[in-house]
């Protein structure tokens, strides 16, 4: 049903160039505020890319990014309490999220669409309860509802977390490009167009969906763990908060669900909104909810839906392809 629009080609070189330039920012003395904006942009971008992979390309509207973020964050935090270095904690965080995704795929994948959404809605709530009740390592003021600090990160500077965020943000873009041009991507496209036809043509629907779910969990988990290295502290309410879902859904929907470039402008808008509306509390979320409803009703293809129709964008693509 979606209009056929050519995917951007040959963008690899400019992407690498942009990444290198962004990597130089902390060295050439960009202000701390801007580094923070960009840090959040990279984190949100990687999570939105993964949500887009699920909702836009695999037909799985996942309501549980918070489960991956929180689980990875907790793996990192509790790992450092047991003497694990933080960089291994990030990796283990991603692995924990991926393993969790693989385990829960059994109840959650049994039926399509609606049932997947229900299953994923419950996961963060269950994890929040578990980590409020269960105290894996005790200390006078830590554990349970009051959460944990991340230990052993005294020598991690703002530039380090910035570079890590940049790395996962860029990696998520390359990963999306790779997935979409691989066998997995064409299989997912077949499933999205018609699941029954795909299944009868020999596409293994379950294993493809499982792959994209586990990949999304891994990357979202890594990004979440990096966020908690930056924050240095984790507790159950914010770790498994529905706000993570708001962020990734908003970024993807604003940019254009099911468009490869969508999360980039989407995540920019989300970061701008975050700082613009930070003062207003409830009103901020009312506005964000209204944006979700408004865009889905009026422009379901989001920003990229508009931009892709313009002639300037097509010339830009041609220009890049010739580089």
């Amino acid at each position: 049903m979606k209009a056929k629009i050519p995917r951007p080609r040959g963008v690899l070189t400019p992407l690498i160039a942009v990444t290198v330039v962004l990597a130089l920012f902390p060295v050439i003395g960009i202000s701390r505020a801007w580094l923070l904006y960009l840090f959040l942009f990279f984190i949100y971008l990687s999570m939105a890319n993964m949500w887009n992979l699920l909702a836009g390309y695999s037909g799985l509207v996942s309501l549980c990014p918070a489960a991956f973020v929180g689980l990875a964050g907790y793996t990192l935090a509790i790992g450092t309490w047991f003497g694990l270095p933080w960089y291994l904690g990030i990796i283990f965080g991603g692995i924990a999220a991926a393993a969790f995704a693989a385990i829960v795929s059994f109840p959650v994948f049994r039926l399509k669409g609606i049932y997947f959404a229900i299953g994923t809605l419950v996961l963060p709530e269950v994890l929040r309860y578990v980590l409020t009740i269960w105290i894996p390592i005790g200390a006078p003021v830590y554990g349970g509802g009051s959460g944990y600090t991340v230990k052993g990160i005294a020598d991690v500077s703002g530039s380090h977390t910035y570079w890590m965020a940049l790395a996962i943000g860029a990696a998520s873009i390359f990963l999306m490009r790779y997935i979409l041009s691989s066998k997995l991507g064409s299989g997912l496209a077949a499933i999205r167009d018609n699941e029954n036809t795909a299944a009868s043509s020999g596409v293994n629907v379950f294993s493809l969906k499982l792959s994209s779910f586990v990949i999304a969990a891994f990357v979202t988990g890594i990004a979440g763990a990096i966020f908690y290295v930056y924050q240095g502290y984790i507790e159950p309410v914010s770790a498994f908060s529905v706000r993570w879902l708001v962020i990734v859904m908003l970024a993807t929907v604003i940019g254009g669900e099911g468009t490869e470039e969508g999360p980039v402008p989407g995540a920019i808008v989300v970061v701008v909104l975050y700082f613009l509306l930070a003062r207003y509390g409830e009103i901020s979320l009312i506005i964000q909810g209204s944006i979700l409803v408004g865009i889905m009703l009026l422009a379901p293809q989001g920003i990229m839906g508009f931009i892709r129709k313009t002639r300037a964008y097509r010339y830009l693509l041609k220009f890049i392809a010739r580089l």
Binding site: M1, A55, V61, L63, V104, F106, P107, V108, R110, L111, G113, I114, Y115, A117, I118, G119, L121, V122, L123, E125, V126, Y129, V130, T132, I133, V242, L245, V246, M249, V253, E257, G281, E282, I283, L285, I286, Q288, G289, S290, I291, L292, V293, M296, L297, P300
Partner: protein, 288 residues
């Protein structure tokens, strides 16, 4: 024998609490069964019913149950508008759009409640809310009995409505096959709007009885939504009897879970049960 005596109270309470869960889930089940859309804002709309009862009681001094005479038509109207202007349009875009719009709606509602009524926990503390009755070893708060009676009344009414009236038959026809119903001259868009409106009137009832039974906050909708989803999946979508059985199962799970594992874990027991139901009997007991 002592264990049985001790268990008698949680079992009776669970059964009656099941009535409340059935009422909360009925609206969801109706929309689920007829329109095939999952309204993840349902919990928040139920809480809207609770706040309506709260305003009626504190501002106008009307008994919350009596206030339903005004509350049900108001939520009926809101539901009609929501379905007609939001979900009927979203439905034509894609399945995802409905889900995302419902999520946006849920955000808007929760934060509007916080803005108006602050994040503080509220309750509908009427004169009879704190009374309880005893029969042998069983001690049960009076409101739990009211929950159960309300559930029976609402289900009976809904059953008769769907069986006997023209609109009820039209709703069932649209549920069975949208296209055929449309060809038979049924305005399905309008029927959907009425279905959602009825679901909201049920949410008004659910909200008031929820407020009488538990205290609620602007974000309580989420936990009741999850339980209601579990009830609907367990009972099979669109089945009234199934919803009742599902409600009672979850009511029992919660009170018995609270008895055996402590109050802190009782919601966790209910949530894990939702996942188990999804894994083991995704089509429900009474599913078609």
């Amino acid at each position: 024998m002592t264990l049985l005596n001790e268990l008698a109270t949680p079992i009776v309470m669970g059964l009656m609490l099941g009535g409340l869960y059935a009422v909360i889930a009925l609206g969801l089940s109706l929309v689920f069964g007829v329109i095939k859309e999952i309204n993840i804002a349902h919990g928040d709309l139920v809480i809207l019913g609770s706040y309506f009862g709260y305003v009626a009681m504190t501002v106008f001094g009307i008994d919350p149950i009596l206030s339903l005479i005004i509350g049900m038509p108001i939520l009926f109207g809101i539901g009609f508008v929501i379905q007609k202007y939001l979900f009927n349009r979203a439905f034509k875009i894609s399945m995802d759009a409905t889900l995302i719009i419902a999520f946006g709606l849920s955000l808007i509602l929760q934060n509007t409640y916080q803005l108006i009524w602050t994040p503080m926990a509220r309750g509908l503390t009427t004169s009879y809310a704190l009374e309880s009755f005893s029969a042998g070893p069983v001690h049960v708060p009076l409101v739990y009995l009211l929950d159960f009676l309300a559930a029976i009344a609402v289900m009976l009414f809904l059953h008769l409505f769907l069986k006997r009236t023209y609109l009820g038959r039209a709703i069932r026809a649209a549920a069975q096959n949208r296209k055929t119903a449309h060809l038979m001259g049924i305005n399905t868009d309008r029927v959907y709007a009425y279905t959602f409106a009825i679901s909201m009137a049920l949410a008004a009832v659910a909200g008031v009885f929820l407020g009488l039974t538990f205290s609620f906050t602007p974000i309580s909708g989420m936990s009741f939504l999850i339980i209601a989803l579990g009830v609907v999946v367990l009972g099979g979508m669109g089945s009234i009897v199934g919803t009742f059985v599902g409600g009672i199962t979850f009511g029992l799970a919660q009170t018995l879970g609270g008895y055996f594992f402590g109050v802190a874990a009782q919601m966790l027991v209910a949530y894990v049960m939702v996942l188990v139901v999804l894994a083991v009997i995704p089509r429900g007991i009474f599913g078609r």
